[in-house]
């Protein structure tokens, strides 16, 4: 597998799984307006995944759907941060902000790539994610503005911090730390980043359910 494909699949898998995690709030978000907003974010992420899978698929001679669904769980390249199942709002917001920030840092590097296709998709993703960042910032501000909100958010941030570091390569991690500490107005704990090749147990369960309908018909069936 080429470095290019590896990169594409890492980001695509991140977006696909995170898109699913975000859409788990459908129908049960804290309030209805937020439900609708978060669902758009989830859809955008799945859309990003699709665009990235299509680039990888062209290189590998397959299709986006086959890459999204037909690999075995251990072949997915997603970061542990997106695999965690945390249907709790403070952790959801913390992950949302951490991921969007990490992704912004990552995309900035990729937009500068001399591969025009990848740079092009990265730029599109980045433009759409500007709205995700706006949403995340709004929530961080709101949570930090109340004693209870601040306490819950900080606890969530500390818990997810090692996972957030694991989203990025070594050389980009200091930037993430700098931004997160500035945002929260405090130092974040020293932590061993949870790296990409560590798969959470949740991923296997998720894969089973994600592919059950697809696997019920022969490969190549239409849906």
């Amino acid at each position: 597998m080429s470095k290019r494909t590896d990169l594409l699949l890492s980001i695509a898998d991140d977006e696909l799984i995170l898109g699913w995690r975000n859409s788990e709030w459908t129908g049960i978000a804290p309030f209805l307006e937020e439900d609708v907003a978060f669902s758009s974010i989830a859809q955008n992420e799945i859309g990003h995944a699709r665009a990235l899978y299509e680039l990888a698929a062209a290189e590998l001679g397959t299709t986006a759907d086959e890459l999204a669904f037909d690999r075995k769980p251990e072949e997915y390249r997603c970061a542990p941060l997106v695999q965690l199942r945390r249907l709790e709002w403070a952790r959801t917001i913390a992950r949302h902000w951490l991921y969007e920030t990490a992704d912004e840092i990552r995309l900035a590097a990729i937009k500068a790539s001399d591969d025009p296709e990848i740079a092009g998709v990265a730029a599109k993703i980045d433009r759409e994610e500007a709205y995700h960042r706006m949403h995340a910032e709004m929530w961080i501000d709101r949570l930090l503005a109340s004693g209870e909100g601040r306490a819950r958010l900080n606890e969530a941030m500390d818990e997810l911090w090692p996972y957030a570091l694991g989203v990025l390569d070594d050389e980009l991690r200091p930037e993430l730390r700098r931004r997160a500490e500035e945002r929260l107005g405090r130092a974040l704990p020293d932590a061993e980043p949870v790296p990409r090749d560590v798969h959470e147990a949740e991923l296997g369960e998720l894969w089973e359910e994600m592919t059950m309908v697809r696997r019920s018909a022969p490969a190549g069936s239409q849906w």
Binding site: F31, E33, E34, V36, A37, S40, Y131, M134, H135, M138, D141, R142
Partner: protein, 96 residues
């Protein structure tokens, strides 16, 4: 807080009331309005207004005949016919 949302479907069209939403403040309201009224690119622009900023007026006095201010206050058919008759410019289907 309740916000009223007005949307413009295409450039040049008037802004029309599209509905209302609740949000803790304007920042949230903006995001929610985008979602509810723009996620399908169905609007080119939105106005967001706190409900309390909207005041309604719904009574208009009509004590004396004000028809002279409107098109339906004028009936020119008879006089126009007279004028055409006099000038000899009545069209053939009018002279009966």
């Amino acid at each position: 807080m309740i916000y009223e949302v007005f949307r413009q479907e295409r450039k040049g069209q008037p802004f029309q009331h599209a509905g209302s939403l609740t949000a803790p403040n304007e920042r949230f309201a903006e995001i929610y309005a985008r979602e509810q009224y723009g996620r399908r690119q169905e609007s080119v622009a939105l106005w967001l207004v706190p409900r309390e900023a909207v005041s309604e007026i719904d009574d208009f006095p009509d004590e004396f005949d004000l028809k002279y201010r409107r098109v339906d206050g004028y009936s020119i058919k008879t006089r126009l016919r007279e004028a055409r008759e006099r000038a000899g410019t009545l069209a053939s289907d009018e002279s009966a």
